[in-house]
């Protein structure tokens, strides 16, 4: 009797487990996934209100044949909506497109000029669970397909190159840009319709094309308004974060390398104007040739340089009406009664305490 019961149990369990083993809703073998590494978004070629997506895909056969150096596949599709375009791109493939390892999203200026499209991009992508909300978002004015096919300096895979670019060593030294990830992009658009995206461009032509990152595209009212070249962006690093690693060069070629800096922002009312005091503690080393000038003179010159960088950048952002230095946000956190709206005019007063430690060789 007991044996019969046991046999019955055994058969039932094996049947259930066999049945279970044949279920595979979510089981996709590794080689059947096409890993989307970088996603490019453009406005459609004919119809400027439709989406055109480019997917730089690492597929298993390509890797099998040549490892990382293998040519990456580029899929292109158009669609009236972003999700439509994305599903079009995956159509007709034997493998399943997989966004779990998407590293960067490059958006073309055309698409950024249309507020509806900007909103749709931010919404669709940040709600797509497969995509990491920390994925980097960039903007460009060059054809996206060309960027996606360019091999970056020192690396082979554009996606990992871009995602390491901001997190890696010396990112803000080589060029000046503001990092933007999907989450931040979405959040700042929702807050006041502005956003700042780092700019990615191509330099050179033909086979010698190189990726270059620097400068920003600014968005206001959900649409592109202007770009800022990287030379004028130094100020945002001083105000927002540690400028360690940055190099300042005076007109007489004396160079100062910043070791670290720390900003402190306070607000005050001066008449009708809101005044923002940015107090910066910075230390740096003189590099290169020994300078003949005395210390305090140098200090004053460099301080002036930093001050001008900050005011330049701030001025640009003020002109565009974009909260690129996050001043409004900081203000709101300190004084929650002030609503989170772009403030017409903020005067910035930098106050630099620079300490020069070493005086060159």
């Amino acid at each position: 009797m007991r044996n019969k019961k046991f046999a019955l149990k055994f058969v039932a369990i094996s049947a259930v487990s066999l049945a279970l083993l044949t279920f595979n809703w979510d089981r996709v073998e590794m080689e059947n996934r096409a890993f989307v590494v970088v996603m490019g978004i453009e406005a459609g070629e004919g119809d400027k209100t439709s989406f055109s997506v480019y997917l730089s895909v690492v597929d298993a056969p390509a890797l099998e044949n040549g490892g990382e150096d293998a040519p990456k596949l580029l899929y292109q599709a158009e669609g009236a909506s972003l999700s439509h375009a994305l599903s079009q791109a995956g159509g007709g493939m034997s493998d399943r497109l997989y966004y779990g390892h998407t590293k960067a999203i490059v958006i073309h200026k055309d698409a950024l000029e249309n507020p509806r499209m900007v909103r749709e991009i931010a919404d669709t992508l940040s709600q797509k669970g497969e995509i990491n909300i920390r994925t980097i978002v960039m903007a460009t004015d060059k054809p996206v397909s060309e960027i996606l096919q360019t091999k970056p300096k020192g690396g082979n895979l554009l996606g990992t190159y871009l995602s390491n670019y901001f997190g890696g060593d010396g990112a803000n030294v080589a060029s000046l840009a503001i990092k933007a990830d999907l989450e931040g992009f979405d959040a700042s658009l929702r807050r006041d319709g502005t956003a700042v995206l780092p700019k990615i461009t191509l330099e050179g032509g033909g086979d010698g094309k190189e990726i270059n990152i620097g400068g920003i595209f600014a968005l206001k009212n959900f649409a592109y308004i202007d770009s800022i070249p990287e030379e004028l962006l130094a100020g945002q690093i001083w105000v927002k974060e540690n400028a360690g690693g940055m190099e300042l060069v005076l007109d007489d070629h004396t160079a100062l390398q910043i070791i670290r800096s720390r900003p402190k922002i306070t607000f005050a009312m001066g008449g009708d104007n809101l005044i923002c005091h940015v107090k910066i503690q910075a230390t740096g080393n003189l590099v290169g040739l020994h300078s003949l000038r005395n210390n305090s003179e140098l200090n004053a010159d460099f301080t002036k340089k930093i001050e001008s960088q900050i005011t330049t950048t701030h001025g640009l952002f003020q002109y565009m009406g974009v909260d690129g230095l996050m001043l409004t946000e900081t203000l709101h956190k300190k004084y929650p009664n002030i609503p989170l709206q772009p403030i017409e005019k903020i005067t910035i007063i930098p106050e630099i305490h620079l300490e020069i430690k070493a005086h060159g060789s």
Binding site: R27, V28, E29, M30, F35, P61
Partner: protein, 507 residues
């Protein structure tokens, strides 16, 4: 049945019982020269030390012997008493009135002597049979420490224990199980350290055995386990006397089975299977590291293939990007799904393991080379399996060898397949469901009244002191308490010297 006073009746009875037993040696002979009193001696050849019988017992009784005491011939002094008191030059003899016991003892290798006119026989301990002495350890090998192992002769085994624990509190209770085999077993424990309820439980379970024969400790183990449907061992089987002795010192009960070169230690918690005797003969830092390694090995042996399947086929976003690409590339040319790949390799590995055991030792290593290196390499080269799967399966196999107990490894091996099946169906959810199922089973298990997962569960009962000898091994100086196996009144393992007193008096 009682022994009759009539010698011939007894002889007839015995010879009936032992009819067609070629190994039986028996002789009826008169005592002394007078031929008035007769004796009958009977033993089994090969089970008995013939030298003792022929040279120290018979010469004193046989007629021609001048040594035969005069008193033997005078009535009415009891021949039996006389024989016991001075007739034989051996200490190990006893009087027995029950014929069944006599038969049993003859079968065990003793010599029986029946006397004319007495309703009792004499049993002389003459057991002695061919054996391989005290062998070396072959399964639980250690780098440093004793290499003695239990042998098939129970008497040797008890001696091995006694030599290690010279305390009168070490009790060795003998009995036998098996209706037909009458296998001798000995229950060994420290009388004052053992938990009385555990001892009572052991004795009760042994008494409940009704099987006809026990040929090995493993068979006995299954009969006294709480949950026989569990793949997890609830008794610890060891071939090392020092392990058994240290178990006994902790308050556990060791059961020795005649003809079996192993001892059963109970209770056995999950934790005890991860302890090796070497752990205490080397530094605590090294051994703590080793312990952690063993637990990690257990996790790998159990879960690695399942985890591999869950992550690669369901959640590749957990992998670092470049690794994911490499894995995808490695799998490109493989025609079968990852689950089957793993199952095939696991099957091949289990096959190798089984084949390795059966083969003679010198050939055994070559199967490892053929199987592991050549077949693995060829399978990868032929594009049937991906190299990563070979790594995963090999790692699983190696991990299973790092755990000091064979029985628990076998349990992990079985459970591994449950995890693989569920992980292949539901990914990480399935993986955890399988793992929790196994944990529920383990948590509900008890070994002789102790929670099987002690001290990881219920560890607060003795203030978590057992943790000192679990995931890591604390320095000896910190392990002042005995583990949970010990009687609560006997918690202290270390005592200051002025309290030592007489070691043979109960603490």
């Amino acid at each position: 049945m009682k022994i009759s006073t009539n010698l011939d009746e007894n002889i007839e009875y015995l010879e009936n019982l032992f009819a067609d037993s070629g190994d039986l040696v028996k002789r009826k002979f008169p005592i002394g020269t007078s031929r008035r009193r007769w004796a009958y001696v009977i033993y089994l050849d090969g089970m008995t030390d013939r030298g003792v019988v022929e040279q120290t017992i018979l010469p004193r009784l046989m007629a021609s012997s001048p040594k035969t005491p005069e008193a033997f011939f005078h009535e009415p002094i009891s021949l039996l008493e006389t024989l016991k008191d001075g007739g034989m030059t051996t200490a190990d003899l006893r009087e027995e009135t029950d014929m069944d016991n006599i038969v049993h003892m003859i079968l065990s290798g003793d010599t029986a002597m029946l006397l004319d006119g007495d309703c009792a026989g004499i049993l002389i301990a003459t057991r002695g049979w061919p054996n391989r002495g005290v062998p070396e350890t072959s399964v639980e090998v250690v780098v440093q420490g004793s290499n003695e192992a239990f042998s098939e002769v129970m008497r040797f085994n008890t001696a091995l224990l006694r030599r290690r624990v010279k305390d009168t509190n070490l009790k060795i209770k003998q009995s036998n199980v098996g209706r037909r085999t009458k296998t001798d077993i000995a229950v060994c424990y420290m009388e004052d350290v053992v938990r009385p309820e555990v001892l009572a439980e052991v004795e009760q379970r042994l008494a409940n055995i009704t099987i006809d024969g026990i040929l090995d400790a493993g068979a006995l183990e299954e009969l006294i386990e709480e949950d026989t449907n569990s793949p997890f061992p609830q008794c610890q089987i060891t071939e090392r006397p020092d392990k058994a002795a240290s178990g006994i010192m902790e308050g556990r009960v060791a059961i020795l089975v005649d003809n079996s070169p192993t001892a059963i230690l109970v209770p056995a918690t999950m934790n005890s299977f991860f302890q090796a005797s070497e752990d205490y003969s080397q530094g605590w830092e090294i051994m703590s590291f080793t312990r952690i390694l063993r637990f990690a090995a257990a996790f790998f042996a159990l879960a690695l293939p399942g985890l591999y399947i869950a992550i690669t086929t369901f959640h590749p976003n957990m992998l670092p990007t470049l690794l994911a690409f490499k894995m995808a590339a490695a799998r490109e040319a493989i025609p079968i799904p990852a689950v089957l790949e793993i199952l095939i390799m696991e099957f091949a590995f289990e096959l190798l393991r089984e084949a390795g055991i059966r083969l003679p030792r010198p050939v055994g290593s070559s199967i490892g080379i053929i199987g592991g290196l050549i077949v693995g390499e060829a399978a990868v080269a032929a594009g049937i399996v991906s190299p990563l799967v070979v790594i995963v399966v090999a790692l699983t196999g190696i991990a299973s060898f790092a755990i000091p107990n064979y029985a628990i490894v076998s349990a992990f091996r079985i459970c591994k397949f449950l995890i693989i099946a569920l992980a292949a169906t539901l990914g990480l959810l399935g993986f955890w469901i399988a793992l929790i199922t196994i944990l529920i089973h383990l948590a509900s298990m008890k070994t002789f009244g102790l929670p099987y997962l002690f001290p990881f569960a219920s560890g607060d009962v003795n203030g978590y002191t057992d943790f000192k000898d679990s995931l890591f091994r604390a320095p000896m100086a910190f392990m002042k308490k005995r583990p949970i196996y010990a009687n609560p009144n006997q918690q202290n393992r270390q005592q200051p010297p002025n309290n030592l007193g007489n070691p043979h008096v109960k603490e």
